[in-house]
Amino acid sequence: MSSRAFRQRVSAAIADLPVIQAVHEATVRKVEQRRDAMAELRNSEELRSLAAQIKQHTLDHLADHLRQFVAAVEAAGGVVHFAPSPADARAVICDIAARERCRLAVKGKSMTSEEIHLNDALAAIGIRTVETDLGEFIVQLDHDAPSHIVTPIIHKNRRQIAASMRRELGCEYTEDPTELTKIARRYLRDVFRRCDLGITGVNFGIAESGTLCICTNEGNGRMTTTRPRVHVALMGIEKLIPRLADLPVFLKLLARSSTGQPLTVYTTMITGPRRGSDRDGPQQLHVVLLDAERSALLGGPYAEVLRCIRCGACLNACPVYRNIGGHAYASVYPGPIGSLVTPLLHGRGAHSDLPRASSLCGACEAACPVRINIPELLIRLRNDTGEANSWSKRLGMRVWRWLMLSQNRYAWAQRMMRIAPAKRDGDGWTIAGRGPLAAWTGSRDLPPAPPKSFRDLWREGLRDE
């Protein structure tokens, strides 16, 4: 993605006022809900540190935990596959689906499956895949893309949704969210009755027991792991935690960070396929472990991004995300964590501008349940990947430094600011500077200089007040 393309998308996003307003309201609400829910905990700070430590431990010993996990899944009757790349993951899943003669697949929300573009691959071999999370279902009706990792249609309003439902499902037009949900429920019930393949992501894989933990609010994750004959769970290799006893640490943080709930409505723990005494549940369980560049990050300076539990708190907290929405990032993972993960996993060149889409205010790190130091990593990534700064920016910075190092030069520069020719808006803000200043004002506005400086006021009598 070139720098220009990114800028154009951002400009387009900012111009779409209703969307930006919707995103803004929703994220502000979520930040408040998160804050209240975390305050309910006796010791949220300690709990976050513990979560960070457990995840980091798992990553530091990932080979051992993977070995243990594979053995445990197999002991429970599951089959484990390894996919070095997204293409391999697609091939593995298509293979399973074809071999088991599946026709109709249901999918729980899974960012990892978005990452590998699974639906198209399944369609190519004649398998229809239906998204079952309400938000993802609507995204699919619209041939759109999710714009938030937890609430995929944060960018749509009810009128747009009503229009898509009528267009695609032929139902009565209604803007009532309850009615719209009922229509989707009825439609998807029929799909759940007939489906034969279920595809889910995994929130946590338990190394010691081979258990897959899947958290949903709607119940689609449960339907997807109850109804079809075959269940395929797709997970990144970083999704493991060591022990069942570690799970409560993450459960207590995940939903709180995500939506301000103490727990998601359904926390499902799957260990192997259906057993002899079970009357329902899939006959086969396949776990697909996806690497896709994750292992290359381990042992390096960016390893801690793999602690991420995809709660979305950093998106909600981010002033940049709130003002440009998710689509402007043009990547599966938007927001602060996306600005790290996308270039790191999908090639730095193509997404080299994303690490710059941050004001480095630190709100993301303060919200992160596993204490990923996002701002520091963003700076590091900027230095690692950025094309060298342009000569004009470098010159500008030098001049800035020279001005700031002397009291007299600083005072002179202040006077110049007031009279310098520049394009200003109605309120006196500089919206386009000249010369070296242009590099700065290209994406920022400068506030008007006050008519008198503090030094002037001080000299004129402020000192005596």
């Binding site: 431990h57 019930r189 609010n217 119940g219 799970l247 640490v249 079970d278 381990l298």
Partner: protein
């Protein structure tokens, strides 16, 4: 392509990871329960569970075991249920026999299934299960698939009534996980915390998306 976990690719990954392991790896903390725990013990567990369950959107009824049958029939009547799906485990707790319950439900125009065929699963209006545990901290119900309990009973019908013996109420999530670890894991365990819900459309809360829109905890005080 050999994609299995025993493929050479996977072995190569493990090898690469081992070689890249950091020199000073982060240790795994051992005694974590004290940090994780939010609720210590409960003077009146049923009462405290009732409060948190209600907060999670669960309806609560407190009763004694000899009232259970009558309460279920009343519930079926009040919601005009035409078919109830009661798990064998839940049935075992009822003092009335299967036939008695079936007869009483029949007077309310409701049929009874314990191990229904697939079409009947989707026709059931009311699902009744026996929980493995209930958690004061979050108001959650722990249901377990296996002998006598299906995954679908607490999921497919529009209303889920969960029988909660008072003796199975535990203070904290940590206690529930101790219970889970105390015997071999079932193929599916689910913590249910309130009715199925979404806020995907403009943040408006809607219940009953794919799972039950009503969850009722029947706390049996003497069980």
């Amino acid at each position: 392509m050999n994609s299995g976990a025993h493929s050479t690719e996977f072995a190569a990954l493990l090898d690469r990871l081992s070689r890249r392991a950091p020199l000073a790896p982060t240790p795994l903390p051992d005694e974590t329960a004290a940090i994780i725990r939010q609720v210590d013990e409960c003077a009146d567990a049923p009462r405290e569970f009732e409060v948190s369950a209600r907060r999670a959107g669960v309806e609560v009824v407190r009763l004694s075991s000899d009232e259970l049958c009558g309460v279920l029939v009343d519930l079926a009547k009040s919601m005009l249920a035409s078919s109830a799906w009661i798990s064998p485990n839940a049935l075992s707790l009822l003092e009335a026999g299967r036939q008695d319950l079936a007869n009483s439900l029949a007077t309310a125009g409701c049929t009874l299934g314990t191990m229904p065929e697939d079409h009947a699963r989707f026709a059931a209006d009311l699902g009744v299960t026996l929980v493995r545990a209930a958690i004061v901290e979050t108001g959650s119900l722990l249901v377990e698939a296996g002998a006598g309990e299906e995954r679908g009973t607490s999921l497919i019908p529009a209303v889920h009534a969960a029988i909660v013996p008072a003796s199975r109420i535990v203070p904290d999530l940590v206690d529930a996980f101790d219970l889970i670890a105390s015997r071999p894991l079932a193929s599916a365990l689910t913590l249910i915390t309130g009715p199925s819900k979404t806020a995907d459309i403009e943040g408006v809360l809607v219940t009953g998306v794919h799972g039950p829109g009503r969850v009722i905890a029947l706390i049996v005080l003497d069980a």
